[in-house]
Amino acid sequence: MSRQAPTPRTRVRRLPELGVYERERVNEIVDEAIYCHLSWVGDDGEPRVIPTIHTRLDDELYVHGSAASSTLRAIRTGLPVAIAITLVDGIRFARSMFEHSMNYRTVVVYGTAEEVTDRDELVRVFDAITDHVAPGRSADARPPTDAELKQTTFVKIALDECSAKVSQGFPEEPDEDLALDVWAGILPLRTVAGEPIPDPLLAERTSVPGYVSDYRRPGA
């Protein structure tokens, strides 16, 4: 596995044993999470953060939005961004409130956003972001027209400065808490899909594709 040397801000300092720097494990978390939280510094010098869908191609993370979006207009000029991606795998119930925790996998990425201008790359990343939401979907959905490509801005952030933090297992509690008369353990969590709801304007004969009826996140 390729291992990325942590920088001062990606080195996991709190509980350093949870730090993960292997690119393949970072990629798995990035690919499984549907959306990320993207932050940057506003004109006023204060922080901003929004949710957005992302996708990954090789060593680049892509996010997109309307060409008119104030977020994308702000960051596409190369502003530094920080991106947090979080998956919660379970709740860790300790006997004391203080030792409660989550089984989680998070990735934080630092970098600068670069606007995608190459048409072929735009088409590829459009497919990738559609498949990120619903794997297999890009083969069915009509691809973007030239006009639609112009209305959408994609930016990419190199996955150069990033790290994952992975915490799994049972609660760890001090010996004196073990005698407490309180249940302790793990409750796993997962995201599941319900029944698909057809668009009211959908022609009746259109059947639900398998990637919708059997929907699951990659890795989940």
């Binding site: 993207l38 920080a82 979080t86 203080f98 934080v108 959905a141 594709p209």
Partner: protein, 221 residues
């Protein structure tokens, strides 16, 4: 929809999705299991950290280790921006650009106040425990003074916040409606799996009734 409390909380793109109603904002903060806190570090660069939140009335409580950079900065009154997101449905349109999500998100700006009052600390600890799973706060042992020397609780007033909400079917253009592609929405939800007791749990302690059965949705406060 009520007025945006400030220019930076005004929803610019899709203003019809903007919602400043406290009830909407509170529901998202309660329902989202976690949030991301962002701040600007001493070099002027953005930072982001996922964490668990809890709400009591118009106050959002966050907690963190006193040893962590984020909380050191936040405790001295650095401005933070918090985002919480709930994804309700995937929106699968006939064309790839019209794909979207039905989601509810809240963005909140503010400067934190470190909680020092013992009663407020206790209420915040219970609220955070309850946020994770309602009922648990009545069961788990409360933090003691030693715990509070390691953990910091930050209170943020929920007064400069906005919600953004998308609902409903895909919005394909009329000329795309004839495309032979299934379109609609796919609801997503977080369910629990079978619980596992800690290996060192005394055999006489039964599974609490507030733990939902496997396959049930995670209850929210």
């Amino acid at each position: 929809m009520t007025e945006a409390p400030s220019e930076r909380t005004r929803v610019h793109r899709h203003p019809e999705r903007g919602d400043h109603d406290p009830a909407t904002i509170h529901a998202v903060l309660d329902e989202a299991l976690l949030c991301t806190v962002s701040w600007v570090d001493e070099d002027g660069a953005p930072r982001a950290l996922p964490t668990i939140q809890a709400r009591i009335g118009d106050t959002l409580y966050l907690h963190g280790s006193r040893g962590a950079r984020a909380w050191k900065a936040a405790a001295v009154g650095t401005e933070v921006c918090v985002v919480a997101t709930v994804v309700d449905e995937l929106v699968l349109a006939r064309t790839s650009p019209a794909h979207s999500m039905n989601y509810r998100s809240v963005v909140l700006f503010g400067r934190g106040r470190e909680v020092t009052d013992h009663e407020e600390l206790s209420e915040a600890a219970k609220a955070i425990t309850r946020h994770v799973l309602p009922g648990r706060e009545l069961d788990a042992a409360e933090p003691d003074d030693g715990d509070w020397r390691q953990t910091l609780i930050l209170a943020l007033a929920i007064d400069e916040a906005s919600a953004k909400v998308r609902t409903g079917p895909p919005k394909d253009d009329d000329e795309d409606l004839a495309l032979d592609v299934w379109a609609g929405t796919l609801p997503l939800r977080t369910v629990v799996g079978p619980p596992s007791s800690s290996p060192d749990l005394r055999a006489s302690i039964a599974l609490p009734t507030y733990i939902p059965a496997s396959g049930e949705e995670l209850p929210r406060p």
